[in-house]
């Protein structure tokens, strides 16, 4: 077990600390709120020679990801960070990175998308990445963000897929919390040293010239994608392994999902990111009223923990999915559809309802989540009816 110390850090400071300890080879940076100060903190480490990292201040997020792809294919350990519109701008290259199977860590300090412009938190940016073939992990707080970044390096390099670590803009990134920090040596041993041969075809091995990013015609494109598809299914095992290894050094055991009082729960609420704490408080208050409610947090978002979610919902009567992004598709939020799909893996057929909340940084209170449970229960019992699967939780009428 590692030496640890507890200090007060913001989410961005905790992320910068993880980056310092890992001593990434390459960090491509471009400012965008609320990510900006993270790279500012990290730049101090670079300027003071506390890390070896080549920090490249690029001309935009599209270039940030292109730089990362080049560096990662070369054989370097690579990270970048962005938010909201910046994530949208780099989406083209996210597909390239996962298609090339290069390990890269991307920190998404979750932010809403324009228009109207908002620098505040929601998960619309993450939802742009959900089909890109990146592993995606959500963090509830600064502590999880810190841990997730350390684990992400290893997951990404073992799975040979790039990985996104999400944490909520401002709510996590700019709030001070007590964070338990591992000692540098433990972290460095955990991730292992830089070596171009961590990947099978490093560009920098000029004795073995390889071609990255070829064109595939219809006779091969399907095979390339199917291989990616099959390998992405193996990510579950990789994540579990790394979670286990991390438990050994940190004493903190993570799982794909986190269940709260679901054991006997009839009605279950599901969310991701920083709102889960509020959701747990809402569950506690409803439990005080004698209501059988519980909550689930999705930590591993991609690949989606279908089996775990199905198992956790196998006895529920009703499920309310709390989406921090809208899909504008007549069906419901992105997480809602993931949960609906996961329910195909259980015999149980709970009543499913969807609320959109917390858009563009709208603060969320336990009373609002309690209202979501109330609505779910009344719908399930036939006391109320609905026109759509999805409703907004916090809109002024």
């Amino acid at each position: 077990m590692a030496q640890t110390k507890v200090i007060a850090l913001t989410g961005n400071q905790a992320a910068a600390e993880a980056m310092r300890q890992i001593n990434f080879d390459i960090a491509a940076v471009y400012p965008i709120s609320p990510q900006t100060e993270l790279m500012g903190f990290f730049a101090e480490y670079v300027a003071n020679g506390e890390v070896d990292t080549e920090m490249i201040a690029v001309d935009g997020e599209h270039s940030a990801m292109a730089t990362c792809i080049g560096a990662a294919a070369a054989g370097a350990r690579t990270i970048t960070a962005s938010a909201g519109p910046g994530i949208a701008y780099m989406v083209e290259n996210l597909y390239v990175a996962s298609g090339m199977r290069v390990p890269i860590v991307l920190l998404d300090v979750n932010r809403a998308l324009s228009a109207p412009l908002s620098i505040h938190c929601d998960h619309a940016d993450s939802m742009l990445t959900r089909d890109t073939g990146w592993i995606s992990i959500f963090s509830e707080n600064a502590q999880e963000a810190y841990h997730n970044i350390i684990m992400a390096v290893k997951i990404s390099e073992k799975a040979m897929f790039p990985i996104i670590v999400n944490y909520d803009g401002y709510i996590v990134s700019h709030s001070i919390e007590d964070v338990e920090i591992l000692d540098d040596e433990t972290v460095r041993n955990f991730v292992g040293p830089s070596d171009i041969h961590r990947i099978p075809y490093p560009l920098l091995d000029t004795d073995k010239p390889v071609t990255y990013g070829a064109t595939a015609q219809p006779d091969y494109y399907t095979e390339c994608k199917y291989q990616q598809h099959v390998d992405f299914l193996k990510v579950y095992d990789v994540v579990r392994e790394v979670f286990d290894e991390f438990a050994e050094i940190s004493g903190k055991r993570y799982d794909f999902i986190e269940e709260y009082k679901t054991e006997d729960a009839e009605y279950i609420g599901i969310s991701m990111g920083s709102s889960f704490g509020t959701l747990k408080d809402a569950v506690d208050r409803l439990r005080e009223q004698g209501r059988k409610v519980g909550a689930i947090k999705i930590r591993l978002y991609r690949p989606f923990p279908v089996k775990e979610v199905a198992q956790a919902l196998s006895k529920a009567k009703g499920v309310v999915v709390l989406d921090r992004a809208d899909s504008f598709d007549g069906i419901g939020g992105p997480l809602f559809k993931d949960i609906a799909t996961a329910l195909l893996a259980t015999e149980n057929n709970p009543y499913l309802h969807n609320f959109i909340y917390g858009l563009g940084g709208r603060e969320i209170h336990e009373e609002e989540f309690m209202r979501a449970f109330d609505r779910l229960e009344r719908l399930e019992k036939g006391i109320e009816t609905r026109e759509n699967f999805v409703e907004y939780l916090q809109v002024r009428e």
């Binding site: 099978p200 990255y212 070829a214 390998d231």
Partner: protein, 106 residues
Amino acid sequence: MSYQLKPWHEIPIGSIVPEAGSSKINHTGSWRMLRPVLNYDKCTHCLICWIFCPDDSIPVSPQERFETDFEYCKGCGICAVECPYDALEMVPEMEIKLKELEEELG
């Protein structure tokens, strides 16, 4: 242009091509309509044709130009135009093919 189509599990990770120069499997000579015929008497082995050949179809040593590699030569004729010694002539491929066929048929 023939290669064995491999199943998905036999291809390298990330659609990477690890075999350098493996395009040699594409015999682009099939595109050729005109064939550069070299007059060895005129050739001074200056290698100008070699540097300008878009298809890497002119095998050379530092001192010598060898016969064009017709597996790959697409027949553009740049070598014939650029040859300072007029040592190359472009002949319609069909004429050559027909002559070969006639010989074969007797």
